[in-house]
Subunit: 308 residues, 2 copies
């Protein structure tokens, strides 16, 4: 067994942090680490938090941690922030710590940069969750700092997704409608102490009334503390009640992962076939001279690669 | 020839807008449109604008348009904004139009949603640029609303990248250093009327003094109008002077594109091979039972696929 694996299984925080860095950067050791811990995983539940910038995701997570601990969970937080090189990705840990209400020894927090392509985020995240799982954390809260495609990708890797709204978003029906995506397992009107929170809450309830699935809609305020305990309880309930679907979801996740990994291998193989390939170079020449269009060139080249 | 191609070649704005939507959404007609226009492309130059949120990208582009027109360019603007479903992606057109200084008939502006994976942005963008090129626009300004990976991807598709800073960013050396990425062909201290602009400008110059490439550093203010004309002239100069390298860059772009497209075809083929495949299903079962780890499962399955 690798020393780092021994360390993380013993709950050493430095080994844990280093192992997550290794999988986040896709270093060669990733493979051996995952291989050695894989059979020890499968207990952790994962919750993604998503919503527009300024929705108060990190503050809410900061307040949720002690409530989840009170329910018996050993909690870890992963913040996925593959944004600008200027802001970097390592902000959340500090931000959450600023809440002051946390016991650093009990909770583990990490930002993940995942600078690679969008597909890289899933891979990093899946393996970071496995490492935390093997180290004994049984609840991993994932904050998605990015938006759009990233949110969807993260939702495929976690057991449930909580979507945040705030009164700042307004109760504009179209905007709220756009936020009620297929990825939301639960909706929270955050900053519920602000004006407009009730109208927003009502708008969401009305819109959800039209949908087939009826995810819970909650209100929470990190300022007054109202609704936080209830949110933790609802998350706990969701994670436990849906245990039958959960197996299916787990299988679907493994299916996605295996497919992603096979595609990566195939991509690498094709890339290495193309590197320095004469026909590839000839097709580029033809494209540069506009003798062929990109679609036709790709079709013909792919056909040739397969027939070799 | 497709009626829509006939329309866009005749400069009809509706045909142009529709054609860009078709390639942005990767609709089946994309293929035929690109095929029919491909030989008519190759004249347009493209400039990417990147920088942190609040750097004033759209305002600066708004002011640059008439200056570039004065230099003889027919200008189009594409804003790539694959962000949250809540904010949507169709903001820039309106934002730029608000500048008021623009003649709507001369400039064409479009937001691109490109909701797909990161690789999808390049594909959409390359083809949207081709459509504008064929329609007679010879300068396409690309605003990247997103950050990080997206900026890098866009830089691979354009002829030059202008990176914006503002005094808000501060003259913090580390932050500026992080922004002086390999993708910057030109740096602009925007909002140069604000306090701290000169210090920031000096910091950038000092840092660039250490690098091998020495990209131009300019100052501009949309408020006072200073530096805008000079920026347009510098962009024009860059696009013309580097004409020798430009051919090489064009070839590199075609190389990247052809590879991306071949990989897409291969991916689709592998995906369809996996759909309903018995061995794939067996490996997922083994993973669910933790009898095999994901790396080993992927290796074995990929090997089997190749040997069939």
């Amino acid at each position: 067994m690798l020393p780092i694996v021994k360390g993380l299984l013993a709950g050493e925080r430095r080994a844990l942090a280093r192992a997550i860095s290794i999988v986040d950067n896709d270093e060669p050791e990733s493979r051996e680490i995952i291989k050695q811990i894989f059979s020890k995983t499968g207990s952790a539940k994962t919750v993604g938090f998503t919503g527009p910038g300024g929705a108060g995701k990190s503050s809410l997570i900061g307040k949720l941690i002690p409530e989840c601990q009170a329910l018996g969970y050993k909690v870890a937080v992963l913040a996925v922030d593959p944004t600008s090189p200027i802001t970097g990705g390592a902000i959340l840990g500090d931000r959450v710590r600023m809440q002051g209400s946390l016991d650093d020894d009990k909770v583990f927090m990490r930002s993940m940069a995942s600078r690679g392509a969008v597909g890289g985020v899933s891979k990093s995240l899946r393996n970071a969750i496995r490492i935390l799982d093997a180290a004994g954390y049984n609840l991993v809260l994932v904050e998605s700092v990015g938006a759009g495609q990233l949110e969807v990708e993260i939702s495929r890797v976690v057991n449930m997704t909580v979507v945040l709204f705030t009164p700042h978003t307004g109760d504009n029906v179209q905007a709220v409608k756009a936020g009620l995506t297929e990825i939301g397992d639960m909706y929270v009107v955050n900053k519920s102490d602000l004006e407009g929170a009730n109208a927003l809450y009502q708008t969401i309830l009305d819109l959800i009334g039209d949908t087939e699935r009826k995810p819970a809609v909650l209100r929470a305020s990190t300022k007054t503390g109202r609704g936080i305990k209830e949110l933790a309880k609802n998350i706990d309930k969701f994670l436990k009640e849906k245990s039958i679907n959960y197996k299916e979801r787990e299988r679907k996740m493994l299916e996605d992962e295996l497919k992603d990994m096979v595609l990566n291998i195939v991509e690498e193989k094709v890339s290495s076939m193309l590197a320095g390939d004469k026909r590839y170079s000839e097709f580029i020449d033809k494209l540069a001279k506009k003798e062929i269009d990109p679609y036709m060139a790709a079709d013909q080249l792919a056909k040739e690669l397969f027939s070799r």
